[in-house]
């Protein structure tokens, strides 16, 4: 029997379209890409990569049912023997096994705590909220707002203590508060190379401050000279990273963290690392990064802890350990990628949620803030 098609050309085109699109819809085996790209990692990170990546497990999670005032945790900080969690409903503090919550009724400027840092010298806790900055010193809150102080804006996304200065990244520019003179200095597109005043992250190195500016890449501020320079995506392409490793992967940056001479930059479109000379880009399609959508980043020693919408990634620049979860079952995976090797370990319980927003690491402990609570993990030995 002879089959006559009315539109044979169209059918062929349709079949070809299906076949060619197969690669786009099928999940990629990332180890393949890792294998392909691992040879390009020839830099100062080589020594670091020889160290085994820390792997955390034995997760215990806390939410509104067992200690937190609410489920949504924005940030977390380990402060000696206590853990501070910034939630949408106030500050939760775990001390001696007990949770205690502090809210506006206790003097906090706003319950939505988006960021925090602890001054290592004084022990004062600086809380960046949706309604101002609170200095929490042993139970007493001192509040700074755009109305009662020189602070640029009440919406604070990041806080960093740097000696006597406290830096904030806000919706109205970056601000630097000198705790000795009690003066604010504001940095916006008016006096710094920013695209707009919206800033998402701020971190400090020994001699520089790095500001993650929305649409403006990374703004570098040299403390000694008080001069700025900016690092933007050189290819200027907002859709893809046209030329790999030519600079920060995208102008829309969401966070920055500096450790051991390395600046790590988070964007909603991938991860960047800068060693002072070279930039390196990481994406979910060519590295172990679990997702390009990065909410927050923290570097500790040689490891970057990357909070994404698909779980927590950790990397030393070459090797990766990712933590993901099935939010319904509270079971998840720990995916270990050492060069070409990939191991997947089932973890139960696992992270509270894949949408990770904050992380802190100290010693053998890791705490991860997620949109469904905060998770506490231990270093696996």
């Amino acid at each position: 029997m002879k089959i006559h098609l009315k539109y044979p050309t169209l059918l062929v085109l349709f079949v070809m379209l299906v076949i060619s699109s197969w690669g786009f819809v099928q999940p990629k085996e990332r180890t393949e890409f890792i294998k392909d790209t691992s040879k390009t990692y020839g830099d100062k990170n080589q020594t670091a990569s020889e160290k085994p990546m820390p792997i955390y497990g034995n997760w215990i999670s806390y939410d509104s049912k067992n200690g937190l005032p609410g489920d949504k945790a924005y940030c977390v900080k380990i402060d000696g023997d206590r853990v501070l969690v910034g939630t949408h409903e106030g500050l939760a503090v775990l001390e001696n096994g007990n949770w205690k919550t502090y809210t506006t009724e206790d003097g906090l400027t706003h319950n939505g705590i988006l960021a925090m840092d602890v001054d290592p010298l004084t022990g004062d806790v600086w809380l960046g909220t949706m309604g101002g900055l609170s200095r929490w010193s042993t139970g007493k809150f001192e509040n700074y707002t755009q109305m009662n102080s020189g602070m640029p804006n009440d919406l604070i996304y990041a806080v960093t203590c740097d000696g006597k200065d406290v830096w904030v990244a806000t919706g109205g520019g970056a601000g630097c508060y000198d705790t000795y003179t009690r003066k604010w200095e504001i940095f916006t597109e008016e006096n710094a190379p920013m695209h707009e005043p919206w800033t998402y992250g701020v971190c400090a190195s020994d001699d520089k401050i790095y500001i993650a500016a929305w649409g403006g890449g990374i703004i570098e501020y040299t403390k000694k000279t008080k001069k700025f320079r900016d690092y933007v995506d050189p290819d200027g392409n907002m859709e893809i990273d046209l030329f790999p490793d030519d600079g920060v992967v995208h102008d829309i940056t969401t966070g920055a963290s500096w450790s051991n001479g390395m600046l790590w930059v988070a964007t909603y479109f991938g991860l960047s690392r800068y060693d002072g000379v070279h930039w390196k880009g990481y994406f979910d399609h060519d590295s172990g990064l679990t997702s390009n959508f990065i909410n927050y980043i923290k570097a500790k020693d040689d490891i970057a802890f990357i909070c994404t919408d698909q779980g927590l990634s950790t990397t030393d620049g070459k090797n990766w350990v990712n933590y993901t979860t099935n939010e319904n079952l509270r079971k998840g995976k720990t995916i270990i990628i050492n060069g070409d090797d990939k191991k997947v370990m089932a973890t139960s319980p696992s992270l509270a949620h894949n949408f990770t927003i904050g992380v802190d690491v100290e010693g053998d402990e890791i705490w991860v803030a997620t949109s469904k609570g905060v998770s506490h993990g231990h270093l696996m030995k």
Binding site: S137, T138, Q146, N153, Y180, T181, W184
Partner: protein, 675 residues
Amino acid sequence: MKNAKRKTLLWMLILFGVIIYFPGRMLARHHVNDKTAVTDHPLKCTSCHVYTSKNKFVTSLINEDYYSPFNIAVSHDGSRLYVVAQDTDELLIVDTESNVVLHQLKVGVHPHSVILNKANTLAYVSNQWSDYISVIDLAVSKVTDTIKTGNGPSGLTLSADGSFLQVVNTYGSDLSVIDLSTKEELKRLGTGSDPTGTALSPDGKKLYVTSRRSKIVPYGEPLVSDLTEINGETLRVGEHHNIEEAYMMENITFTPSGDLAMMTLIRPKNLIPSVQIEGGWMMTHGIGVIEQGENGRIIQLLTDEPNSYYSDPFDIVVSPDGKRAYVSNSGADRITVISVDSIRAILKETPKEELKNIANNLGVSSRFVIKRVPTGANPKGLALSEDGKKLYIAEQLEDKIGVLDTESLQMEAPIDLGGPSRITVARQGRRLFNNAGHTFQKQYACYTCHPDHHEDGLVYNMAGKDMGRNVTNTQSLREIGDTPPFKWNGKNQTIYKQDGMRFSTVLTRTEQFSYDDLDAITAYIKRGIKYPPNLMYNPHGELTESQQRGKEIYNRTKDNFGNVIPENNRCYTCHPAPLYSNLRTADVSTLAVTDDSILFDTPHLGNIYASPPYLHDGRAATLEEIWTVYGEDNKHGYVNDLTKMQLNDLIDYLKSLGGPEQEEISSQTQETASF
């Protein structure tokens, strides 16, 4: 013929003299009546035109340079006293056997406190108007080094091992921790507002810092002051204790056993109308006792009596056996001797719920006050000899060191530091200013609400019988001599009028000052009260870039859009340099519904950074709030076009402002007071 001519000439001269004299006298009388608001003030031109003169030659003739001893330390063996002479910027080393000043060592400007190291080989002196510590080698009696501090260094402690010096920074409201091995500031810890006192527990584990100003709270809420507890080992803040309804916690000490810490304090009733003064119990004075055991209670006890008050408690020390405490009442010229065991008994038997009542009990002092010992004028810092047998008292306005025999509780002959024997008019004024003797039941001195001749940061309901009406923020008295009129409503055109009859009617509720005393206090207020140098915001007399930008905004005539700003809405119109006041009243749209309908006196802006809260009723907690919260209609300066950065620049400039002298002399070489 010749005689007739002479007679005629003589008569003409007499006639001319009579014509001149009587209308002249009448004019003079009118002038004095106008300035003093009374009709019987003696017609003495010297009152206004000599005692308050700014002419350097005249002031050198009428004034003297006093030592004004402020704080003391005593050596282990009791042979030496180290006396801070605040007005000559010196540390005096005194031999206690011969009562002779052996050395006068120049230190920084306006020294505050002195502390000795354990070996008694070094002395550290905090220089409040220089922002550094003078290090003195006691073997050679020389200043050998200086250590930079925060702003306004005052109280001092050494860590238990002697490796850290902790310096209270009064104007910075923080504590500098100085590593003595490097002589560098290690860190700065936040404290309460305007702190001075500090004490380390005997075991070295706990350090307290007392604050003098309360936290800024809206009128109607009881005041709360901060007692900062610092971990003596980690050197981090351990806790901020709320001390309710009290402020001016000048100094603090521990008992030798460490079971109690004790501090001086004042409990003001600023929320009730000041008509209450004549009912008593408006400004009360006492001590705070902080239990160190498990209870950890903080109890306030009044040292006043029902009809007699002992104002402005300043220093407190405890005897080596822990049984007695001595408090200097600066406004009453008394040392209050306290039985600490009686206080322990009160603490033991008083249930927690009754503690608040005890804090307001004027009768409780009879249970623990052993004696009131009269001293010379204005007793300040105290020091006990190591054996506890002698109490040395810095009699600031007597220029002497009082000596109390603690066994007989009798004063011995004081140690004369060798200052001027003459009491000048301004010095007499300063004594009056600091003494509560002119107030009903001696409830308070001028100094009580104007500590350091400044202001206490509180809002009072002045004179009116209606609660909460016409509330006013205490104004600073620093450098106000040339800024009439006075009071927020500008009703008093001179200090004579302010401190004369009206003063006694409204504030002291007793007889008014005698005219000689009025001359004296006016002379002191008008010329004797200087600004501390603005080392925080204008240390070198040069504006920063931000302050320069702020100055341009201050002096601008056009807004950001190029529109001309109406003259009355420009900053400099009402606040022109050098006084930063046009000396007129104005409506800046701040009249509250509880205010009588008045215009407000334009305040000067010198050292404005040090005077929160702001506006006549203290509604603005910060300078920013004057415009971000209360400046919506652009009537208090045209600001609503400013960006946040521009407003910051403007405020940065305002904070840099000092007095007229700031531009003439460097802050480091500012003249010391000579009153």
